[in-house]
């Protein structure tokens, strides 16, 4: 097989992505700072830092704890607020990135999700809105939107009423059955699923005998979550027919291919960017070589092929 004949292209909501590699929300800032390191136009798309209605500082430090095979974060959705993101951050990014991006939306109430997700309706450079449903529902007594299929369904339906962009619902893995959640999202109008968000985890500082993270627990990500992510993406693939954006612990072109075989149409790379700022670039460069080794001409042929 000739490397030249290998095609990395894929489609999402009718938009052509040059390749399936998208930096994951929260691990790539608002993108433009990575332009100092390489030409970010090579990326399929970019998922921006989670955005809320008002500016948020997030949680007290420390917000990061190391794990044997990944890390825990409890950033607490630090962001400058949707108005600034829509006006300033998006236009800064536009100077370096000519393709469309994904706006990641957080929220602590139905109203906030609806408000923030429809704030991007007129943003030309936004391909889709990605709803991060792992945030606690402050008004609903701290319950999480992301672990009750009924609540999730209502949220998706509400958001779809006013958000005109294609809607990606990003699922939390901290559930009993993720396919139940995916089905609820799909049947209430979601246009795609992304998964997985971080697993709940905790580390303790043996000297202070207290949790490393100021707020106790946080979200575990990185290589250690990969087998869980592959399994959940495959569960979702078997349950719904909308496209899936797979993520969780991807750090090489091999992982990309495995995630796609499990059912992902494209993938997001998170923690790997933090340890190696060039991770996405290296994966994109490796991908055709690995495909050749494995006899894969076209990535679309492998999506979900491992389902038994």
């Amino acid at each position: 097989m000739e490397t030249e004949k290998i095609s990395l292209g894929t489609q999402l909501f009718g938009y052509q992505l040059d390749n399936p590699i998208i930096p994951a929300s929260g691990t790539f800032g608002f993108g433009y700072e990575f332009a100092d390191y390489y030409d970010i136009n090579i990326l399929g798309s970019i998922s921006l830092k989670g955005t809320t209605k008002e500016a948020r500082y997030g949680n007290p430090l420390p917000r990061i704890a190391e794990c044997p095979s990944g890390m825990i974060n409890a950033i607490g959705l630090q962001n400058p607020g949707v108005e600034k993101v829509r006006t300033e951050e998006l236009s800064k990014l536009k100077r370096y990135y000519s393709k469309k991006v994904i706006a990641n939306v957080g929220g602590h109430s139905f109203e906030e999700y609806v408000y923030v997700s429809s704030a991007f309706n007129d943003s030309e450079s936004v391909l889709a809105v990605e709803l991060n449903v792992s945030c606690p529902n402050v008004k609903g007594g701290g319950l999480v939107f992301g672990n009750d299929p009924e609540v999730l369904g209502r949220l998706v339906k509400e958001v779809k009423k006013s958000c005109t962009k294609p809607l990606i619902v990003k699922l939390s893995p901290n559930v009993k059955d993720i396919s139940e959640m995916a089905i609820s999202a799909e049947s209430n109008g979601a246009d795609a699923i992304s998964a997985i968000n971080t697993l709940l985890g905790m580390r303790i500082d043996l000297k202070t005998r207290k949790p490393v993270i100021s707020v106790g627990k946080g979200g575990y990500s990185g290589k250690g979550v990969f087998p869980v992510a592959v399994k959940m993406v495959n569960d979702i693939f078997k349950a719904v027919s909308i496209p899936i954006i797979g993520m969780g612990g991807i750090s090489s072109s091999y992982d990309v291919i495995e995630m796609m075989m499990a059912g992902a149409r494209c993938v997001m790379v998170g923690t790997a960017n933090l340890i190696d700022p060039y991770a996405c670039k290296e994966i994109i460069e490796e991908l055709p070589i690995t495909m050749k080794k494995l006899g894969i001409c076209n990535l679309s042929e492998i999506v979900g092929c491992a389902s038994i």
Partner: protein
């Protein structure tokens, strides 16, 4: 920021818990900037201030604090280390003719390079080294070459008996600008007392180059990242 593979030239014990590692192949670094080393077997990189830099040779001075720095002590000469260099913004180098440098414990490390550069710019440099005991006051001789050195220890085993703020009080009168690096309580005490200075802060880092918001502190000017806008901040802007 650059991702570079550096080669270990030496890795020597300075005191029971403090080591000095020299690495070759580094892009230029400014005083106050830091590097991040990827230690095999660990997921996240470890950040260290540049303690000296000269023609591609970088020195860091590190204290054994946990399992990563413990592992570092076993690294042999010629080992290659995946490193991010040129991280963060360093100390301002102009603006004061009579700077005071205040280092607490391992916070002395970045002040060595700073002292040399200020000395070479013909500033009249005063340096206050603070620690729990004499053992903490590393590199006294080297630093002595760049300015007038003062000492303070909690147990009085060297110089003034007392903490950094107490020792700094009289020196503050002779300077219009200070540079401080050391434990958070020391920095807080100094900044509360005197806003005309710069502080080098530490924070647990997810990335080290501005991508994750893991290291954001609150400042009078909104949130800022220790790794990107810092690690050096104006004493007056940090909200403790």
């Amino acid at each position: 920021m650059k991702k570079e593979v550096l080669k270990v030239l030496s890795n020597e014990k300075l005191t029971e818990t403090i080591f000095e590692m020299r690495l070759s192949g580094s892009s230029p670094m400014l005083p106050g900037q830091f590097v991040e080393l990827l230690i095999p077997g660990f997921s996240l990189r470890r950040p260290f201030s540049v303690a000296e830099y000269d023609k591609g040779i970088l020195t860091i001075i590190y204290k054994v604090m946990g399992r990563g720095t413990e592992e570092m002590t076993t690294i042999k000469k010629n080992t290659k280390i995946d490193t991010l260099t040129g991280l963060g913004r360093g100390f301002s180098l102009s603006g004061s003719e009579h700077p005071l440098l205040i280092g607490g414990g391992i916070g002395i490390a970045p002040l060595i390079y700073l002292a040399r550069v200020l000395y070479e710019r013909e500033k009249s440099v005063k340096i206050l080294l603070c620690g729990r005991c004499n053992n903490d006051l590393i590199k006294q001789e080297e630093i002595g070459k760049y300015g007038e050195v003062f000492f303070a220890t909690d147990d009085g085993s060297c110089g003034f008996k007392g903490n950094a703020l107490e020792a700094a009080q009289s020196l503050f009168k002779q300077t219009d600008h200070y540079y401080a690096c050391g434990p958070m309580p020391m920095l807080k005490a100094l900044a509360t007392n005197n806003k005309k200075g710069e502080l080098s802060l530490e924070a647990h880092m997810g990335c080290g180059f501005g991508a994750c918001m893991g290291c954001s502190i609150q400042t009078t000017d909104g949130p800022k990242r220790v790794c990107k806008e810092g690690p050096v901040f104006q004493a007056g802007e940090v909200i403790f």
